[in-house]
Symmetry: C5
C-alpha cells in the first residue's frame, strides 16, 4: 500500500505510512489531497483504511466480496465506485476490478489481479488539475482510461469477428474437427461480447449518476463526463454490432453446412446411379437363357461394352444438365 | 408457532403463548419488539395472529392461497412482504415461500415447506441492531440471506451450463439416447433459469419499494437495501448469461447433429460407391458372350481382380482428396 | 333483462321493470343501489338503458360492436368497463365478453354468449358490502372472479404444455401423422397462450386506472385492487412461461426429427453397405474366365460363402464400433 | 378542386371558386366552416391554397414530397395531419395518402391515388355537428372511417393467414413449385402485416397528440378520440397476432419439409435394402464353382426363389416393425 | 481552410485568413456571421480555430479522435454537433464525418474524407436566411440535406433487397458458388442496414436536443426540425423493413436449400430403386441351377427383358403417383 500527498495533480515523493493516513488527510494544505493506492489489499489494510478515513462498512464489504457490478454509490462523507477494467489477455477478455473511494480530501484506489494499469491516467492528472483541481478530475482521468480500454477491446472483438467471417466464407472445411474449432471460436467471442456488455451497461449508469448528483464533480467537469458517456455508448453499439455479426455467421455456417451436404450427397448418389445402369446391362448378358442371339454374335461383347459406356455418358450428361453433378 | 421478545437483536428465551401475542406487543419496553415464527401455519394460527396483531385480511388471504409473486405491500399498521427463497435441491431448483409481516413492534415470519433456513439471518440481528435498532434491520438481514442464496443458485446454474457446454464439445454422442438425455438436462436447466428470473425480478421491485417508501426503513438502512438491489441485479444478469449460453448450446448441438449426419452419410455413400465399380467389372466378366477374348487368357482372372482393386483404390484416393472420406 | 335494488350487497327479490330503471335509481334509499343484468342485450334494451340511466353513446356503441379490448373508461356520470372473461371450453380457450357500467347508484352488467357466470361474485357481495358499501366493491368482486378464472386457464395451459413436453420426450412417433397431430396441438396451445396474453395485458392497464383515478374506488378498496393486479401479473408471467416452454418444445421436436433421420438413414445405408461387399464377391466368382483355380476346388464354394459371411461380420463390427449401427 | 361552405355538418350546394377560398373563409357565418377537397392536387392548386389560407410552407412541402408517416403537426393558425388510409386491393394491401389541414374555419382534404373514399365520413358529419359543431368532429369522422378500414384490413389478413395455415396442414404439396407459391403467399402476407403496422403505430401517436393538445378538439370529443385509439390498439394487436401466426407457419412448414424428406428417403432406402438381399442370393447361385450341390438339385431353383422371397418378406416386416416403412 | 463572411445567407467573395478569424468575428455587422469550412483539417488548423474562436477542448479532442456517434453537445459559448453523412459508394455504404461548431456569430464545418458535399445546403441558405436569419437555419439546411441522403440510401437498400428477393425466388442456383455469392450480398446489405441504423438513431436524439434546448434555434425553426425528425423516423422504419426482409430472405433461402436437397435426393434414390429391380431379375436368370425351365424356353429371354421393362415402368408410375419422382 502506498499513500502520497497529491499537489497540483502530482503525487509527491514522500510516502505516507498506512496508519498515518488519517492524520495526513487532516493536515493537508488547500488544493492538495491524499492518494492511497494498493493492489490486492489485505483485510488488515482495508480495516486500517476504514478506521483512518471513516469508510462506510458496506463499501468495505463489497470490496471484500469482489466480483461486483460497476456502480457508483454516494455514502455519507465519501463516494464509492466500482469499475471493471477490461483488457485482451491470452485467453480472451481479462476482467479486472478497481474499487475507488473518493472524497474532497482523499482518493483510494484498490486494485485486484489481473492488476489494471493506472499510470496513463496518473500522467494526465497534472494537466487536468490545472483545469479543475481536486479528486474529481483525477477520478475522471481513471474512468476515461478504462473507457478507452473498452474501445480497444471492442475493436479487437470486431477484428476477430471479421476474421471468423472471412474463415466462414473462404475456408473449405472438410473435417468436422475444424468445424468444432470454428464453433468454439465463435462461442468464445460471443461470450466476450456478452461480458463486455455486462460491464459497459452498468458503467454507463454509474457515469450518469456521477454527472448528475456527485458533489465532487464541478460544473466544468460535467461535459467531460458526458463525453465519456458518449464514448461508452459507441462502445456498446459497436459491441452489439459484433454480436449481430456473430449471429449471422452462425446462421451462414449452418446454411453452408446444409449446402455442402446437399452437394456431396447429390454427387455421390448421382455417381452411384451412373454405375448402376451398366451393372444392369452386364447382369442381362450374364443370364443363362439358351436363346440369347446377341451372345453368339462376334460383335456382341464390344457392342455390350459400348452400350454400357453410352448409358453411362448419357446419364452423366443428363445429370450434369440438371445440375446434379 | 414460537413467539419471542427480541431485545437488542437477541430473541429472549421465554416464549410467549400464541394467544398472548397481542398483550405481549402492548407491553413491550422501548427498543424491543416481538418476533413470531411458524412453519406451515394452520388456518387457526393465522386467524389468531390476525386478531391479535390486527393483520390485514388480504395479507392473510395471500398467505392462505400460497404461490405468490415476491412483493411488498404497505397495509395500514403493518408491512406485508412475500419473499421466495430458492435453493438447489436434488431435483433442481427448490422454490420455498416466506411471508413477512412487520410493524415497528412485531415481525411475523411465516415459512412453508421446503422450509427456508433463517438461522444465518438471526445470527446477524444483534450486530445490525447496534447499528439500526428495530424490525427494519431484522427484515434486511433476512432479505440479504435470501439474495445471497440467489447468488449461490445462479453460480450453481452457471457451473451446470459450463458442464453441459463441455459435454456438447467433448462428447462423441453416438446413440440418440444420450442426445435425449442432454436435451433433458438443457431443458431442465433452462427452466431453472426461467424460474430464478421469475422470482428475482419482482423481488427487485419489492426491494425498490422497501427503500423508497417504507416507514420501517430508517435513512441509515437505505444504502444497505441499495447494496442488496445491486447484488440482485448482478444475479439477474448472470442468470441471463446462463440462458444465453443455453440457447447457444442448443444451436451448436443442432449444427453438430447436422454435421455428424453429413460426415457419416458422406462416408457410407462413398464406400458404397467404391464397392459398386468392382461389382460392375465382375458383372462384365460374368456375361455369357461367346466371343470374349479376355476370358480365355490365362492372365484374365488376375488382371480382372487387379482392375477391380485398382478402380477401388483410385476411387478411394479421389474421394479422399475431395474430402468425402 | 333483470333489475334489482341491492341493499347491503344483497339483490332484493322484487324486480324492477326495464323502463322503470331511471325512476328506481332516483328513489333509492341511502346505501343501496340498482343492479341491472342482462345476457345478449337487444338494441332495444340498450336504448332503454341509455335513456333511463343517461349512458354515454360511445359506451353503448362499443357494446354493440362487440369484441373490444379490456378497458376502463370514465365517462361523465358513470364508469364504463370492458372485461374479457376466459374459460376452458371443449375447443380450447373460450372468450366471453362482459360490459360493466357503474355509477354510485347503479351497476349494469351486460353479458354475451358464451355467457360468463357471475354467481360466485354475487355471493361475495354481502361480505364486501360490510367492508366497503357501494358499487365499487361489487365491481371488485366481479373483476376478482375473472382474474381467478384467468389463473385457472393458465394452470390448464401449463398442464397441457407439460403433457406435450412429456409426449415429445417419451413418444417414439414413427408416422408423420402423429407429428402433424403434435404440431397442431402445439400450435393451438400457443394460440391460446397468445390470446390469454392479449386479454390479460389490457386488463391490467384497466385495473391500474381503476386503482388510480376512479371515484367509485374508496381508499379502503385500493389494496384489494392492487392485490388483484398482482395476481394478474403472476398470470401473465406464468403464461409467458408456457409460451417459452412451447418454443423449446418446437425446437426440441425439430432436433429430434433431424436426429431420427440421422439414425435411420445411417442404419439403412450401413446395412446396404454390408450387403454390397458379399454381392461383389459373388460377382467375382460368377465371372466366366477359363482359368479361375478356385472354381475347381471342392472347398471353393464353402470358402466363398465363408468369405462373404466374414466380410459381412467384419463390416458389421466395424460399423458398430464407429457408431454407425 | 371543390370548395363548399359547411353549415351544421352539411356541405352546401353552391361551390366556392378556388381563388375565392380566402374571401369565403373571411365571410363565414358563426358555426359554419369551409371544406376544400381535391384529388391529386396540382402544384398550382397547392400554391393557391397556401396563399389563400396561409398554410405553413413545411405542410405544403410534405404534401408535395408524398409518402409521409402518419402524423399530426400543429402549425401556427392551423393543424396539419397526414393519414394513411389502407384498403385491400387486387395485389394485396393498397396504401393511399390523405393530407388534412384544419383550422376552426376551414378543413382541407388532399387525397392521392389510390383515392380514399370520404363519403361515409361525410354522411356522419351532420349527426356529429349536432353534438360538437366545428371542424374537430368532421376530422374525427374521417379518422374513424380510416381506423375502421384498418380493422377490415386486419380481418382480411387474419382470414388469409388462416387459409395459409389450413393449406400448410392440409395440403400434401409434392412439387417444389407449390412450395414456392406458398412461400410467396406467406412473404406477401407478412409484408402486408408489416406495412399495416408501419402505418398504424404512428397513427396512434398522431391520435394521442390530437386528444392531448389540439385546440380544435373540445372536451366533449376527447372520449371519442380515446375510443378511436382503443380500436387502433386492437388492430395493432390483431396484426401482431397475424405476424406471429405467419412465423409459426414458416416454422411448421420447415419442420414438415424435413419430416417429408425423412419419410420418403427412409422408405426409398428401405426398399433398396430389401431388393439388395435377393440380389446377393441370385449372385451366389450365379457363381461358377464346380462343386455347388444346390445347383444340381431339382428343387434348387424354386428353393432359391423362395429364399429370395422369404428374405424380402422378413426384411419388409422387420423394417415395418421399426417404423422404417 | 476557407473562411467567409455570410450576409443574408450568401457567403461573400473575400476570404478571411485563418489566423484572422477571431478578429473577423468580432467585427461582424448585425445579421451576418462567419462561415469557416475545411476538409480534413490538420491539427494546426484545429489549434488555430480553437484559440481564435474559443472552442471547447473536448470538442476539438472529439474531432481529432474521429469516428464519433452523431450527437449534439452545448458547450459554453458554442454548440458542437457530430453528423454522419452517408452515401452509396462502390463498395456499399460510404460513411463520412461532419463536425459542426456553431454560435450566433460563426459556423465551422469540418469535413473528412470521403468528403460530404455541402453545396446543396449552401444554395438554400439565402432562402432560409430570409425566413430565419442567423446560423440556426444554415445548420438546419445542412442537417436536412444529410437526412435526405439517408432517405436515398435507404431507398437504395430497399431496391437491393428487392433484387435479392427476386433472385432467391427466380434463380435456380445449382452450384454452391452462386449460393455463397448470394449469401455475401445478403450479409453486406444487412451490414449496411445495421450501419445506417447506428447512425440514424443517435442523429434523431441529436435533432431532438436541437429542437428542445438550443439557443440558436428560434421558435420559428422548431417545426422545421420536427419535420426533419419525422423524415428521419421514416428512414429508420424503412430501414427496419429492409432488415426484416433480409431475415425473411435468409429463412426462405434455407428452406429452399432443404427443399432442393429433398427433391434431388428423392429423385436420385427413386431412380436407383427403379434400376435395382431389373438387376435382381437379371441376377435370377444368371443363376446356374440345372433345372431352370425358363432358361430353355425360346421366349425366355424376351419375356425376361419384358419383365424387367415392366417392373421398371410399374415402379416409375408408382413413384410418380407418390410424388417421389
Amino acid at each position: 500500500m502506498e499513500a502520497h500527498v497529491v499537489r497540483e495533480g502530482t503525487p509527491q515523493a514522500d510516502d505516507v505510512a498506512p496508519d498515518d493516513v488519517g492524520r495526513a488527510v487532516a493536515g493537508l494544505s488547500a488544493g492538495s489531497w491524499l492518494w492511497v493506492d494498493t493492489v490486492n489489499p489485505t483485510p488488515d489494510e482495508l480495516a486500517t483504511l476504514q478506521s483512518e478515513l471513516g469508510l462506510h462498512p458496506l463499501a468495505v464489504e463489497d470490496v471484500q466480496h469482489r466480483d461486483q457490478r460497476a456502480k457508483l454509490e454516494p455514502y455519507p462523507g465519501h463516494l464509492f465506485a466500482v469499475l471493471r477494467p477490461l483488457s485482451i489477455g491470452q485467453h480472451g477478455l481479462a476482467e479486472s476490478e478497481l474499487f475507488l473511494l473518493a472524497s474532497e480530501t482523499f482518493l483510494v484506489t484498490l486494485r485486484f489481479d489481473p492488476e489494471c494499469d493506472l499510470s496513463a491516467a496518473i500522467k494526465r492528472w497534472p494537466v487536468l488539475a490545472k483545469l479543475v483541481p481536486g479528486t474529481g478530475s483525477a477520478l475522471y482521468a481513471i474512468a476515461d482510461e478504462i473507457v478507452d480500454d473498452y474501445m480497444e477491446v471492442v475493436e479487437h472483438l470486431e477484428e476477430k469477428a471479421d476474421t471468423l467471417e472471412g474463415r466462414v466464407f473462404g475456408a473449405i472445411d472438410r473435417g468436422s474437427d475444424k468445424s468444432v474449432h470454428l464453433q468454439k471460436s465463435i462461442l468464445r467471442l460471443r461470450r466476450d461480447a456478452v461480458r463486455l456488455r455486462r460491464h459497459a451497461v452498468p458503467m454507463r449508469q454509474a457515469l450518469d449518476r456521477l454527472a448528475d448528483d456527485s458533489p465532487l464533480m464541478e460544473e466544468r467537469l460535467v461535459p467531460y463526463i458526458r463525453d465519456l458517456t458518449d464514448h461508452l455508448l459507441r462502445t456498446i453499439e459497436l459491441n452489439d454490432g459484433v454480436r449481430e455479426v456473430l449471429t449471422t455467421i452462425v446462421d451462414i455456417r449452418m446454411t453452408q453446412s446444409a449446402n455442402q451436404l446437399n452437394e456431396v450427397m447429390k454427387k455421390l448418389t448421382a455417381w452411384a446411379g451412373i454405375v448402376l445402369v451398366p451393372t444392369l446391362i452386364a447382369g442381362i448378358y450374364g443370364m443363362n437363357f439358351d436363346h440369347m442371339p446377341e451372345l453368339h454374335s462376334t460383335l456382341g461383347y464390344p457392342l455390350a461394352l459400348a452400350l454400357m459406356a453410352i448409358s453411362g455418358v448419357v446419364l452423366y450428361l443428363n445429370f450434369r444438365k440438371r445440375g446434379w453433378l
